[in-house]
Point group: C2
Chain length 433, copies 2
């Protein structure tokens, strides 16, 4: 089991694939990544693994007989329209599949016969439509960036701007599962109710829309109701990660919010379609650097000795905005944020442990969002509310454009991507329609 | 379609069944009710209808050939382990089944041959274990009682105690779906983090537990993402109702609550297992009396002319507590609350319309909770936090017992029931274990 928590042969950066598109310097899906997803091809949704510009059809791979043992069990759990059955098996199954695929796809590790059989299982990514990777039973969104929380607290005039509980527990709320969609699904400008400048409630199409740059974790094996998950085994319950955009109509949210966010967010949440497995991220593990010596010690159940493995990851994230005018001009857009997972005060495994600490059962496929990953710097803010001081100071997009992302500008395109070291993990594109 | 919104032959209070247990004065399931649920019998979960002390096995009923047309379609959608397929058909299908069953079960409406065939489809309720009636994709809990909200606001020192948005929109938060269980499932005393008397965060088994007496509505036919539901057709999207107990660890909730309730509630929510259909409640429809002339007019999308049918129901609810000592003494318990749906400032159809107003998609089987149904009176409070002023004044349970429901008293039994007119709708029993 522990092999999954240590750097191993599947991570070797010197390995190259016989699928040449996976070896390009900017390849999103090199041999070391091998993320899992559900793809739609010829009217049929099923599980696949991304490599270069191809998808490996796992059902086809099973049929050509290239898999055995636990790798075959993992693929058999991935032939349906969701990856929940694979997630429920625990991370060892996905790991066995990863090891087998790393060898089969290796330029030096695969004979001509096997290569020929595997080639029959490839579908060009250009020919598929990615689907949600799993049924997301419950979606929980956390609030782990102190910089984001403090800036919002100041904008709202809260005193203190950082809530007292923030450094004692990972703050969270239940999000809406039904409206989670994969990146690329157009966002409809929502209707909503908000207080106008005269403090009168209004209802109509919202005047502005924000993005929130987050990472999401997928629960793998679940826990039974009433059975908390101790921190020492929390990693075994995290199947993998995605990028997450928590679209927010802040005017609606701030007016309606008595018991937390509701319609200001429930109109849509976007996630990147490929799940980067926990094992793929092992080389990028790092100590959590957000805690200062002056911070309170977490209570026992949340105390992370980082004995098993460091609890954070070295992952950089960025957001780029591309307006209609930029697209018309062939401009690739303006990067408006560069941040990292260092923004997280609490780790994903602390979030998971806290979530289950009252006995709440987590199920395979549940998603835990990090909350907006804003760093301390002006250049590392993860949403426009911070960048524009709630709309008071429009950001500059270069070439004279100074308008913030807003529903009026319905053709802006927001692109986010994340990278860990030299490994590009996944990309997220969203057209606000 | 409108027949479902008007009193019809299925409601006739003079009708009696040839199943005599349905005709008893205190019968929970008379001929006029016919609620739907999922029952487990001989290792197999499937849909059924309650009548007297029996369950009609809908799969068996299909097999004996007593159903045709839309009633058969409805039964065929109910043979699996969830009622979601039936809910997705829209309320007309369940209505057709109701009409056919009302005739088949009527003392004067069923010949001996049909009666004999139907008898083969009956399973005694004593022999079955009720299951969740459907997969609940999302659970949304509202806050519709002004009395409950104001009392809690005062206990927390909020100024004003009633949030400004309360009378402009139905306040709500996303709840946890995974931990919803049917009545009778023991509640585990949860662990949690709270501020002790010295204002120091503590973690451990919570010191007290509250109940919250609510009604829940099940979404029937859903709406597509981005397509709001207008008020005039909202009733068609509500499949039926249940009792709901929103177990709450208030000490945890009040400390953690930055973005709304989370672990203070997610350890379990209980619902009654039988869904009373919207059609069964038609005779109990009444005007919403909670709005005063001095209250603000709702915005257009929430303006309920009550043209289609009145938006509230004449339903009384009560909560009874039965301690371990009472059980040992054969005491039937102490009624601690008597309240009604008049406590709701917003109707279920306004809640549903508001929920979908931003384009959020509701799915068949989603649950909308009313929030704690506290009335104005001391005798009509729907939770112990109000009854005890947050633990400061223990309630009297008679016979010298004065302790509030608390985790220390783990063998208390809380019973809630609701009734509309002379028709007892459903009962809810919960052992706090």
């Amino acid at each position: 089991m522990n092999a999954m928590n240590a750097v191993n042969a599947t991570h070797d950066p010197s390995r190259r694939s016989w699928i040449e598109s996976a070896n390009l310097p900017a390849a999103e899906f090199p041999l070391q990544n091998l993320p899992l997803g559900i793809f739609l091809h010829k009217g049929h949704s099923r599980g696949g693994v991304a490599i270069g510009n191809q998808v490996i059809d796992l059902a086809a791979l099973l049929n050509v007989g290239l898999l055995g043992g636990e790798a075959a069990v993992a693929a058999a759990a991935s032939v349906g329209a969701t990856l929940n059955p694979l997630m429920a098996l625990g991370n060892q199954a996905a790991s066995a599949l990863r090891w087998r695929l790393a060898d089969l796809l290796d330029r030096n590790g695969c004979n001509a016969t096997d290569r020929g059989r595997l080639q029959q299982c490839l579908v060009p990514q250009a020919d598929v439509t990615m689907q949600l990777p799993c049924d997301i039973g419950d979606f929980t969104d956390f609030l782990t960036s102190a910089a984001h929380t403090e800036r919002h607290g100041r904008l709202k005039g809260l005193q203190p701007p950082l809530p007292p509980a923030f450094k004692h527990l990972p703050v969270a709320y239940h999000g809406r599962s039904s409206s989670i969609r994969v990146s690329g699904t157009p966002v409809c400008r929502p209707n909503g109710q908000w207080l106008d400048d005269a403090k009168v409630p209004r209802f109509g199409a919202v005047e502005s829309l924000d993005f929130e740059l987050e990472m999401g974790a997928f629960v793998g094996r679940g826990n039974a109701l009433g059975k908390p998950i101790p921190l020492c085994i929390a990693n075994e319950h995290i199947f993998g990660y995605c990028l997450l955009n928590d679209w927010s109509a802040k005017g609606v949210q701030w007016w309606e919010q008595v018991l937390g966010p509701f319609l200001g967010k429930s109109f849509m949440t976007s996630i990147s379609p490929w799940i980067v497995t926990s094992e793929a991220l092992v080389p990028f593990a790092k100590q959590n650097s957000a805690h200062q010596a002056s911070d309170p010690s977490p209570l026992g159940y949340l105390t992370d000795s980082e004995g098993t493995s460091p609890s954070s990851f070295s992952i950089q994230l960025s957001a780029t905005i591309r307006t209609a005018r930029m697209r018309a001009n062939g401009d690739s857009g303006t990067r408006i944020s560069s941040t990292s997972l260092d923004a997280m005060y609490w780790s994903f495994r602390q979030m998971l442990v806290h979530h289950a600490s009252n006995g709440c059962n987590l199920r395979p496929g549940d998603v835990l969002g990090s909350g907006t990953l804003s760093g301390d710097q002006v250049t590392s803010m993860g949403c426009l509310t911070e960048m524009t001081s709630a709309g008071r100071h429009p950001i500059s997009l270069g070439s004279g454009e100074q308008r913030p992302l807003a529903a009026r500008r319905r053709r802006n395109r927001l692109e986010c991507d994340s990278s860990a070291g030299g490994l590009r993990l996944c990309e997220f594109r969203q057209l606000q329609g």
